[in-house]
């Protein structure tokens, strides 16, 4: 690389350049950084860019895992060169942003309160009542602490004359703080010396301020407030940030279903019971927060949340209904509103905006289309931003027609030629190129107004010449260095990363959903394995060439049916062939008990507990998802697939015992496994016991296979299976990990542990079952005719299977949904 890389930078005098005042001449506050860049040997720069890419990639692993299960991941790209803002410029910028936050907060208080802005004619009712963002159910609610906006973000653009303009307000659940933080962690390490010398302001305090604000403003009855971060879940595009931020702030990361509203109070469902939640930092848009009073078809929210807000029992940040201000149509009215509400002039101008709902504005927009950007007037409208000068011919006529048809739905905005900044290309010929940039600044509520994060997310257009910056379509970002007048205190970011915060998420707050998904992961993996064994036994016998369904096979089919894996034999004429039915039991996703359907359920449960699973564990789960792709078409292929399923299930079982932290959550995984295994082995053995006496002996071979005990039997007895030893091995032998007795012992042990840990009474059923198994007289099976003994044991096993389901329901109600089971109510009545 030639020396003087800055000389090759394609400076354009038509635009404001963030770094250069003229070709090759950096702005004053950039000089130290420019000098540093020039001084570094070429390979050192390449090394640093690689460091940045690697750091993002290693965090990006988490990112891509969470971002999109379908693999349509949007890479988070970080340019290694920071954006730098001088102390002087910052003092103006931050004061203006703080004022704007105060203004918008005051507007929300007015719009959901006295509405003097409307009655005095300072704001058209169409921009309030005409917006879906105005939430009628929130009318009259005033948040505790008076802050509608706890966290606010504004997008800024710089015009060629060097002035910053507000182009969009983010008022309901602004994103970007987490990414800004992550960018800082990476870039400050890439240029540690420059970072120090430039006296860059630290942003960690901003997060501490936000954390304090939420906790301080939350309504409590004297107890320590619990704040949570509410996310739409892993399928949301910024889920990575939610998880990152939750960990950084020390707030449990929860989904709507983790919370419940009882008596107008919000609770977090934890394995230890309900814990009151005092503050919710939400990343869910208004519409989705409460299906009871807001959008009814949303499954993401918390039923009754609006009621809890109305009752003043919880702080929701930002306040529900604050999305009403995310409309560019408001811009033209802000100067007057600022004078009215704050008694001071608006410090930062919004980009000139004409709301077409006013007749003169509509005319202006139509006459000056080439100079304007046309945007939807209301957020949440399904319309794109278009540049007037880019729309030609028929498309232009259509645009004009739709503006005329619904003028109130459009705004025309002055087209700001965005400022340019250098971006590292890694290309030896021209290592620096130029891109359009914009800033997203953040403000958090503080006791005396708003604190602005001394930093920002600098958003960079995805390619040269592109004017629209949106992260949703894939974009680049930069760390933003705000210089300080005075030397900044050295505080170690690393220490902040791994501070007390990680320890705050203690075991007492394990959300019930986590326990529930672990529990069902346990049940589904056992269910997959047991149905795979039975179906494999059946498939090998069919493949072995028996045309007619003999005693042995018919018993197997009954067993498969009992496990829910095989559909009932339907109408004999229309029924598909046995082969097709068995293949369907393996592969048909639409059949609820099929191996494929259970695998899918398992994958869903696993997805929700992703952060608890090791990568090895995860590899096995990934393999399981591919085993049935492509779908096996022949018996041999199906048998091969089932072998793979069983093998991977055994790995999962190993990981469960050996690869996971044994906390309160883990106990539920094991309970799920044992409950499912108790149910399936009891069912299988009882099928044989209830069979016709002459057929029983024919069924013992597959029973041992299905019960995963054939090897033990052979090595112990070295003879063909006989009823008594088989029964003993599968039901009574406490050394056999697959026996009924073993499941009962294990359940007793783990239920006792959870009873102790989580403080609940021990379910009585399990001790009763253990007693009955202990007392059962096995000598009855020595007699030549043991039908009576078979019936007795079958009845015991049927009870055991039912007990498994009763225990499952009990666990479900007690730990996961925290409601009362009907059976318990009846026994009281």
């Amino acid at each position: 690389m030639p020396a003087g890389i800055l000389d090759h930078y394609p400076f354009s005098p038509a635009r404001y350049d963030e770094m250069f005042v003229a070709r090759g001449i950096p702005r004053a506050h950039w000089e130290p950084f420019a000098a540093r860049l020039e001084a570094l040997p070429a390979d050192a720069l390449v090394q640093r860019s690689r460091f940045v890419a690697d750091a993002i990639e290693s965090d990006g692993v988490t990112y891509s895992v969470y971002a999109d299960p379908k693999g349509l991941n949007r890479p988070w790209e970080l340019d290694m060169l920071p954006q730098i803002i001088s102390a002087e410029e910052w003092s103006v910028l931050s004061a203006a942003v703080a004022q704007r936050a105060r203004l918008l907060n005051a507007m929300l208080a007015d719009l959901y309160g006295r509405q003097c802005l409307l009655s005095e004619g300072l704001l058209p009712p169409a921009l309030v009542f005409g917006q879906r963002g105005f939430k009628w159910p929130c009318m009259g609610t005033q948040p505790t602490g008076g802050h509608f906006l706890s966290l606010y973000a504004v997008d800024l653009a710089r015009s060629p004359d060097g002035n910053w303009w507000a182009i969009a307000d983010r008022t309901q659940a602004p994103s970007g703080t987490g990414y800004a933080l992550q960018n800082r962690i990476v870039v400050s390490q890439a240029f540690p010396d420059a970072f120090r010398n430039l006296q860059v302001q630290k942003i960690a305090d901003f997060f501490r301020g936000l954390q304090n604000a939420l906790v301080r403003m939350a309504p409590t009855d004297g107890e320590t407030p619990l704040a949570v971060l509410l996310t739409p879940g892993p399928y949301n595009e910024t889920y990575f940030e939610h998880a990152f931020l939750a960990r950084y702030l020390g707030f449990p990361l929860v989904e709507g279903q983790d919370l419940t509203v009882r008596d107008d109070t919000v609770y977090l469902k934890t394995l230890r019971g309900l814990r009151r939640v005092h503050a919710i930092l939400r990343r869910l848009d208004d519409d989705f927060c409460d299906p009871l009073e807001l959008r009814a078809d949303s499954a993401l929210g918390v039923a009754g949340l609006v009621g809890a807000v109305r009752a003043g029992k919880v702080l929701v940040a930002n306040a529900l209904g604050s999305g009403v201000l995310e409309s560019a149509a408001l811009f033209g009215f802000l100067p007057g509103i600022c004078e009215r509400l704050l008694g001071e002039p608006l410090a930062m101008p919004s980009v000139a905006t004409w709301w077409c709902g006013e007749k003169p504005a509509l005319e202006h927009v139509l006459e000056n289309l080439d100079e304007l950007v046309i945007k939807p007037a209301y957020s949440g409208m399904n319309r794109q931003t278009v540049f007037g000068h880019q729309v030609k011919g028929k498309a232009r006529d259509e645009l004009v027609a739709s503006i005329k048809a619904q003028p109130h739905a459009y705004v025309g905005q002055e087209w700001v030629r965005l400022s340019q900044a250098p971006v590292w290309t890694g290309n030896a010929e021209q290592p620096l190129t130029t891109r359009s940039v914009g800033l997203r600044l953040f403000a958090a509520a503080a006791p005396d107004g708003y604190t602005v994060m001394p930093g920002a997310l600098t958003r960079v257009a995805p390619s040269a010449g592109v004017e629209v910056i949106t992260m949703q379509r894939g974009g680049l970002s930069k760390d933003t260095w705000v210089q300080s007048d005075a030397p900044t205190q050295r505080s170690s970011l690393l220490k902040e990363r791994l501070g007390v915060i990680d320890l705050l998420y203690n075991s007492g707050d394990i959300p019930s959903r986590l326990g529930e998904n672990l529990f069902w992961m346990g049940r589904h993996s056992e269910r997959v394995e047991s149905s795979a064994r039975v179906l494999r036994a059946a498939l090998t016998r069919v493949a072995g060439g028996t045309d007619d369904i003999g005693d042995e096979l018919s018993g197997l089919l009954i067993a498969a049916n009992r496990l829910g894996a095989l559909n009932e034999d339907e109408d004999a004429d229309a029924a598909p062939s046995l082969e097709a039915r068995l293949l369907g039991a393996v592969t048909d996703l639409a059949q609820p008990g099929s191996v494929a359907a259970n695998l899918r359920a398992l994958a869903m449960n696993a997805n929700h507990v992703r952060e608890r699973l090791s990568s090895d564990n995860w590899h096995v789960l990934n393999r399981l998802e591919t085993v049935l792709k492509p779908s096996p078409a022949t018996l041999d292929q199906a048998i091969g697939a089932l072998d793979q399923v069983m093998l991977n299930c055994i790995s999962l079982a190993g990981f469960a015992m050996d690869d996971m932290t044994r906390d309160e959550g883990w106990v539920f995984l094991i309970l799920g496994r044992r409950i499912e295994r108790l149910a399936s082995i009891s069912a299988l053995v009882s099928v044989v016991l209830q069979a016709d006496p002459d057929q029983r002996d024919n069924m013992l071979e597959w029973l041992l296979e299905a019960g995963n005990s054939i090897v033990t039997y052979r090595s112990r007895y070295r003879r063909v299976p006989e009823l008594l030893p088989v029964i003993h091995l599968l039901v009574f032998d406490t050394a056999n990990p697959h026996s009924v007795a073993m499941q009962v012992h294990a359940l007793k042990r783990y239920l006792a542990r959870s009873a102790q840990d989580l403080g609940h009474p021990m379910p009585p059923q399990i001790a009763g079952l253990e007693r009955r198994i202990g007392r059962f007289d096995l000598t009855a099976f020595e007699a030549e005719h043991c039908d009576a003994a078979c019936a007795r044991l079958a009845s015991l096993l049927n009870d055991a299977e039912n007990t498994a389901y009763v225990l499952s329901d009990d666990v479900h109600h007690r730990f996961f949904i925290h409601t009362v089971e009907r059976s318990r109510l009846r026994s009281v009545a």
């Binding site: 009542f129 159910p137 008596d263 039923a303 709902g357 009907r822």
Partner: protein
């Protein structure tokens, strides 16, 4: 004048596929008090009983009963009973009101022009909402009734009659979620659809219109007796007329409500005043069985035999 007195019984029963563990319900079933309507007694009974129950008033002033259930249940039965007294509402003649352009212009925004309290309130009912759309098509449809200079009430009356004559009442044609544009395209629907369509036409012209939910006294076919559960909930439209206030129109029957319409509540459209709205944990969604009975006081004892006699006592009213 002596008021007419009605008894209303509104039964709703949900049956669930699977037990419901937790359920939140918001009921908007209590008739409102108006200058010409007095709800003298009202009670809601449910089976099972909720663990908690409280009343609040929504942003439109409708009473809402919030119920919460926390124990497994397979069904939910709600019985709402009311005694309501009706006086004839003031009848505004077309000659008393302004022309429709004046009504529209009164609500137009002009920078710095203050809005009086009633104009501000009316502004809430001027725009799109969940079930009401603003479209040029709708304005065009209504244009023939809204000729220049016509008094507002006369124009609205003509629109009501036009809808009544051109639309077919057809319970099979629509569901709760049928968009108003489809109702317009097919010219079919039920009272709710007619109300939403008429509201959409009015708002598309810049006239404030709200959705009224309530009950209508029906008449049994000639020679037949009144039957329990033979009625239904009803919906109509209220239009804001500057100077006069809100005036009701029933496009399903082409009448101005007088002594047979009982108002439960109002909002921008159905979604604001749905009689029951709930969120369940568990269970399977099914349409509820609904039975409504509206009976004048003098037929009350004849209709209800001892066996299914409503338990709600009349409170002394002073009149």
């Amino acid at each position: 004048m002596k008021p007419l007195r009605y008894h209303i019984r509104h039964d709703t029963r949900y049956s669930y596929d699977q037990p419901v563990g937790e359920s939140h319900q918001l009921l908007r079933l209590a008739p409102r008090n108006l200058p010409w309507q007095k709800c003298v007694a009202h009670r809601i009974e449910t089976d099972p009983e909720p663990v908690r129950r409280q009343r609040f008033f929504d942003s439109f002033g409708n009473a809402v009963d919030a119920l919460h259930f926390e124990a497994d249940h397979d069904f939910l039965a709600v019985r709402s009973e009311s005694w309501v007294e009706l006086y004839a509402p003031p009848f505004a003649a077309a000659s008393e009101c302004c022309n429709w352009e004046a009504a529209r212009d009164a609500l137009r925004y002009t920078a710095g022009k203050p809005l009086t309290r009633d104009l501000l309130e009316a502004s809430a009912f001027l725009f799109e909402s969940t079930n009401a759309r603003l479209k040029r098509d709708f304005a065009d449809y209504a244009a023939v009734c809204f000729v220049p200079g016509r008094p507002l009430l006369s124009a609205v009356d003509a629109l009501m009659v036009k809808i009544f004559e051109e639309f077919t009442f057809d319970p099979e044609a629509t569901e709760v979620s049928t968009p108003v544009a489809e109702v317009f395209a097919n010219r079919r629907g039920v009272c709710q659809d007619f109300a939403h369509f008429m509201i959409s036409c009015l708002r598309s012209l810049g006239i404030a219109a709200r959705y009224v939910s309530g009950y209508l006294l029906t008449r049994p076919p000639a020679g037949k007796k009144r039957l329990i559960g033979a009625d239904a909930t009803h919906a109509w439209v209220s239009v804001f007329c500057p100077g006069l206030g809100w005036v009701d129109f029933d496009p399903t029957n082409a009448i101005r409500p007088q002594l047979e319409h009982i108002v439960v509540g109002w909002g921008r459209d159905f979604s604001d005043v749905s009689p029951m709205r709930g969120v369940l944990l568990g269970g399977g969604g099914h349409e509820p069985d609904i039975a409504v009975t509206v009976v004048p006081e003098d037929e009350f004892t004849e209709l209800y035999t001892d066996a299914d006699m409503p338990t709600l006592e009349l409170r002394p009213t002073g009149s």
